[in-house]
Symmetry: C2
Subunit: 333 residues, 2 copies
């Protein structure tokens, strides 16, 4: 790898050898239904808690991705995973029977981009096969971050709906899959947003920074990509992203940008307010819909930028701001 | 790097160019007092919450490590950090003003070994400078994992005392410091322990597995090391580790092994039951006492194996087991 500015370029780009995106019932009723590798009508996954249901979904996505890559767990050097739950318990319990050396990550909703980024650097450095993945579950997130489901709390228009879903990708040194040409590890960015019902606003500044840094380092413009794809800014966050890009960098992003949180649901019909969110949002959309479209030649060059809101319920209740981060992954077919 | 078994060997070993370990009042009254780079009598660090106090301590350790390495934040490619708190808020708030691309990790108490391991692979892969670090704070841990301090809960003899402290190391491609010759990323290991007051027992199986795998891959025996150093098994966990190593692998570890959780406190005088614990335990001991002893030639070859208990208060209350993990770092002077 070589570093220019903040972007890491791979001379021999790692390849996505297999991938899978799975989702829950509500996501299966949305516009991407036909692209998910599995839709679980029973989102308890037969488990005794929502947290273990999330783990089971991530486990399922990883097994499907390994199967798609025709790789057995014993051939994998490392699995990189993390999630939104306290102490990343979604991942720990998903991975515990796989018997793969595990690198735990924490990147909130940016985890899919973070795991692909770090995984790519490890492949470039000499690892032969790594697995990246993450998950979220509406019910476990609501409980840990907001209110018990039974409470039936009201949501403001800027609030988002945590996706029940998981995604996983298997990275290898070579092969015929989609290539990871470059990545950028984000820098924590905090413009002082404190409203936990407006995550899009908390994360938009980080997205704007990473995207503009990436465009600068690669000497490219938005129109050079088939799509600049953010993770879960939602409607509110995407509008703010356009404003920030225009205002701070004089870059017009509107028209070249999509957001996984807006792709996964029908915003008019599915009552999700500003759109989908959660680690599983970008993971399930990227690892099914987007990668399938790339493999079918419908998309050739996608800049995937997943954002994370680095908050905890504790930090929020203590009146702290919500720092954001955005990691970027350049995918090319 | 090249991989043999589960161990990653570096042909050009990354170097620890700078390091710092800082600690709180109680730790400053223990046997390692003279080696800490700073001892904070006021462990609130002047902050409004224990969580922000922990962040301030980690921030301090990172700045000291950078200063020791004579490196400015703008010269660092990545900072790798995580902690025990919900959504790793200790690290997020510690790093947010440093303006360094941030890779969030989750490894519970194994985080110092995890950050050094991943950091070493990134340096080996082409990064020029990375910072690794982690922290814990007695008061934030008690509140998030056990009881409010005011409750004055009783502790069983197997319980440990969360260290108030932080440690950080700066890794570079070359220099005259201690070298990282090899690392091993651990595999999640779960023998079914459910007692959150006996973390040592939950983590000992992972330690035993990683140490035996490492000895096998390197074709070495415990006597080939000046010290095999675990993170925070404490007295109970260390005794269990000796038993498991003897029983499962016919390896006598007793006599060659030390544990940061037993080094940091006077177990007879300081009322810490089984010893110290927390991410900051191994981080503060390794990044002060151990690395200083290595630089002074008192220790030449240390196998650092930090263990993590991958539990959350939620997983524990739901009756789940406590999966453990242990990552290894071979340090040589």
């Amino acid at each position: 790898m070589h570093i220019k500015g903040k972007t890491i370029f791979f001379d021999t780009p790692p390849v996505i050898a297999g991938h899978a995106g799975v989702a829950g019932k509500k996501e299966g009723e949305g516009p991407l239904a036909q692209d998910f590798d599995a839709i679980f009508e029973d989102t308890t996954m037969g488990q005794q808690s929502y947290e273990l249901a999330e783990s089971a979904m991530l486990h399922d996505a990883i097994i499907r991705a390994l199967s798609d890559a025709n790789v057995s767990p014993s051939e994998v050097d490392f699995v990189l995973s993390g999630d939104l739950l306290d102490q990343c318990m979604g991942s720990s319990f998903a991975l515990k029977d796989l018997e793969i050396p595990s690198i735990g990550l924490y990147g909130a909703c940016s985890t899919m981009a973070l795991s692909l980024s770090v995984g790519s650097m490890l492949i470039d450095g000499g690892a032969s096969c790594v697995v990246a993945g993450t998950s979220s579950h509406f019910c476990s997130s609501e409980r840990q971050f907001r209110f018990p489901l039974e409470y039936g709390g009201q949501r403001p228009p800027s609030a988002q709906w945590t996706v029940t879903g998981a995604g996983s990708a298997v990275l290898a040194q070579k092969g015929s899959g989609v290539k990871i040409k470059a990545i950028q590890i984000g820098t924590i960015t905090d413009l002082g947003i404190k409203d936990a019902n407006n995550m899009g606003a908390a994360m938009a500044p980080a997205a704007s920074r990473t995207i503009s840094d990436f465009l600068k380092d690669t000497n490219t413009q938005p129109q050079d990509y088939d799509m600049i794809l953010t993770g879960d800014l939602g409607y509110t966050g995407s509008e703010l992203l356009y404003e920030l890009m225009q205002q701070d960098y004089k870059i017009k992003l509107n028209g070249y940008h999509k957001d996984c949180g807006m792709l996964i649901y029908d915003l008019k019909e599915q009552d999700v307010n500003s759109g989908g969110s959660g680690c599983g949002c970008s993971a399930s959309v990227l690892c099914s819909h987007i990668l399938k479209n790339m493999e079918q030649g419908k998309l050739k060059k996608v800049l995937f930028v997943a954002t994370g809101a680095l908050m905890s319920p504790t930090s929020n209740k203590q009146g702290n701001t919500i720092p954001g981060i955005a990691h970027a992954v350049l995918l090319e077919r």
